[in-house]
Symmetry: C2
Subunit: 99 residues, 2 copies
């Protein structure tokens, strides 16, 4: 994704795609939790209140989009933020809405 430009239709298409992922309460909570440290699917299930299936599906899709990365350790899969821009975005949201 090239930067240094005014918002164009193409840029907005890309960013809107990212925002669509964040525009869901439980997905947003999951991503917020992951900015601290990697967490297992089970951890995120408890923290978000979403079902096992939903959490796994959310993470699978976000991984496919390159937003998070997975590392399997024994029977657990730990997820972590993969995209630094997402981390910045979550931090910006925190600054605006939580400080």
């Amino acid at each position: 994704m090239d930067k240094k430009q005014l918002p164009t239709v193409e840029k907005c298409e890309f960013v809107a795609e990212v925002l669509k992922v964040l525009s869901h309460p439980q997905r947003l909570l999951i991503l917020c939790q992951l900015t601290d440290e990697a967490k297992s699917v089970g951890d995120l299930e408890k923290l978000s209140g979403a079902s096992q299936s939903a959490v796994s599906q959310f993470l699978g899709k976000m991984k496919a989009q390159g937003l998070v990365k997975a590392s399997k350790q024994n029977q657990f899969t730990y997820y972590d933020i993969a995209d630094p821009d997402i981390k910045k975005l979550i931090q910006a949201l925190y600054t605006i809405y939580c400080l």
Copy 2:
């Protein structure tokens, strides 16, 4: 909306609602354009490439949500950002994705 807290489910529900509005290419472009200065529906129609009906509907809904405000001058309706948090958010997106 009270602030100063870690992300909670309720906070995420609120923020996700806001992000849902931004998670659409043309709505995002419209909001980006409005951070500079108020613009008419027709201006936004041209800038976003969305249909007259769609632009009017987008603006109507965003107004109902308190994100933008309208001021009618003669036959034109000028829209402007109403929520300072949205302005901050758009600026953060600009910093992350356009600089």
